[in-house]
């Protein structure tokens, strides 16, 4: 007994070392990011308070770039508005003939505006922390966009903070397509540059040009169809020649992210129950 005790005391360094290494390896290799506990992320109470305080100062640094983005966006929208007004005028003339009333369709999507309080672009797995959480209606798996394009998907929510898996994180695979046709590929970051991602598994017969816009496919509840993602800058064949993989320049500037919109899909629950029914009935048939 005494020998065992002596042995334990003598090699306590190594035992403690092993314990810490195993503990950190468990944290490190629990690869499923959805299982992470909120207190060990930047959405935890202490970390989020610190980030919120620092953001009150650093939030002003990128204002010039953001302002430019907004003005560009504003100009685009004004152009669109003018075009639409013209169309409306044309159509109103036609509508005089019809007695049909124009319905306003209840919109399926709504937005929650949130401030970014922490963001990284230089790691291999990047995350973003938001200032709003479950108390403001955020739930995991909601999509996040900013004025330019797709940003990421909500991953862990605290009461007043939430962590978002950035597009710049290989855990996130986004179903996307080339604007104007229906073939879907999956967008994933390759870990190299913070403004470029890869659109993989796009079938070989899809027609596209360099400079075409890539948009979301709408196959998940996170993003509606047609949210802009980026433009094609180059293309290459995948290993087996049946698929293209496209390099996509992202519209979103992740280095100056400050305010984002979280997309709330009113049909999430409905879709989920419907899809659950399908899998259950399939299981019964088997």
């Amino acid at each position: 007994m005494r020998d065992i005790l002596n042995f334990l005391i003598r090699s306590s360094n190594w035992i403690l070392f092993a314990v810490y290494v195993i503990a950190s390896c468990i944290l490190l290799f629990s690869t499923n990011p959805f299982q992470h506990h909120v207190y060990l992320t930047s959405a935890g109470a202490v970390a989020s308070t610190v980030y919120r305080t620092s953001n009150t100062v650093t939030g002003y640094f990128a204002l010039r770039d953001i302002n430019e983005d907004l003005q560009r966006r504003n100009a685009d929208l004004e152009m669109q508005l003018l075009g639409l007004q013209q169309q409306l005028r044309d159509q109103r003339l036609q509508l005089y003939a019809d007695t049909m009333t124009v319905d306003t369709v209840l919109s399926r999507y709504s937005f929650i505006i949130a401030n970014v309080i922490n963001n990284s672009i230089n790691r291999s797995h990047n995350y973003i922390t938001l200032e709003k959480g479950s108390a403001d209606g955020l739930k995991p798996e909601m999509g996040v966009v900013d004025q330019n394009g797709v940003v990421g998907i909500v991953n862990v929510t605290g009461e007043h903070t939430a962590r978002v898996i950035s597009v710049l994180n290989p855990y996130l695979r986004l179903s996307c397509k080339v604007k104007g046709n229906q073939h879907v590929g999956s967008l994933q970051w390759d870990g190299k540059r913070h403004d470029v991602a890869l659109l993989e598994e796009l079938p070989r017969h899809v027609k596209f040009k360099i400079g075409d816009t890539i948009v979301t496919s709408g196959f998940s509840t996170a993003f509606p169809e047609g949210v802009p993602v980026g433009t094609v800058i180059s293309a290459q064949k995948d290993g087996d020649d049946n698929f293209y993989s496209l390099k996509v320049r992202l519209f979103t500037d992740f280095s100056t992210l400050s305010t984002v919109r979280v997309i709330v899909d009113a049909m999430t629950e409905e879709l989920r129950t419907v899809e659950q029914d399908i899998t259950e009935s399939r299981r019964k048939m088997n």
Binding site: S12, N13, L16, F17, Y20, V21, A23, S24, C25, I26, L27, L28, F29, S30, H36, L40, T41, S42, G44, V46, A47, V50, Y51, S54, S120, I121, N122, R123, S124, H125, Y127, R163, P170, D190, G191, R193
Partner: protein
């Protein structure tokens, strides 16, 4: 004893916050990330037992992890670093010589020994952290470049910190 303990605690907390708020967001030329918080681990007194060094290292690593959403990556690297600290010091220090001040600095263990100690451990830490990080993407040249650039930047910043503290101490005297 208590005074230096408090000083070290404050230094550790300030370094962790600085790493989380400032240094994590710096990335020079897309390769060099300053990892300055290990300064707190390097400055622990030589007389401290290995168990304490390991515990403090793990705690520092975990707190930096929480700030940067890198589960266990810094914790693992810091634990490994804490284990390497004593062998590295033994390697460079002349045998049987006890430092005047238990806190390693250029005054207590000699400038060249201290510099070697700082560079070796920072390089080791950068190797640990970037190898752990690159389990998923493996690009050997980029990895080596990142390790070397980050180590150089971190050592430069830590030497700057050293100057800051030693000058203050001289003024007080």
């Amino acid at each position: 004893m208590t005074k230096s303990t408090i000083q070290l605690t404050v230094l550790t907390i300030v370094l962790i916050l600085a790493q989380g708020i400032v240094f994590n967001h710096i990335c020079l030329f897309g390769v060099a990330v300053p990892l300055v918080f290990i300064y707190a681990l390097l400055k622990l007194p030589v007389t401290l037992t290995v168990n304490w060094v390991l515990t403090i290292g793990f705690a520092i690593g975990l707190s930096v992890d929480i700030f940067s959403d890198t589960y266990g990556m810094n914790a693992l690297a810091c634990t490994l670093l804490a284990m390497c600290r004593r062998p590295v010091l033994r390697l460079y220090m002349p045998r049987g010589e006890e430092p005047a001040d238990p806190v390693p600095s250029s005054a207590s263990i000699g400038r060249s020994v201290y510099l070697k100690y700082l560079v070796t451990l920072t390089l080791l830490f950068c190797i640990f952290i970037f190898v752990i990080e690159s389990f998923t993407f493996f690009n050997i040249w980029r990895l080596i470049l990142r390790i070397i650039c980050s180590a150089v930047l971190s050592v430069a910043l830590m030497l700057g910190l050293d100057c800051l503290f030693s000058r203050r101490r001289e003024k007080r005297l």
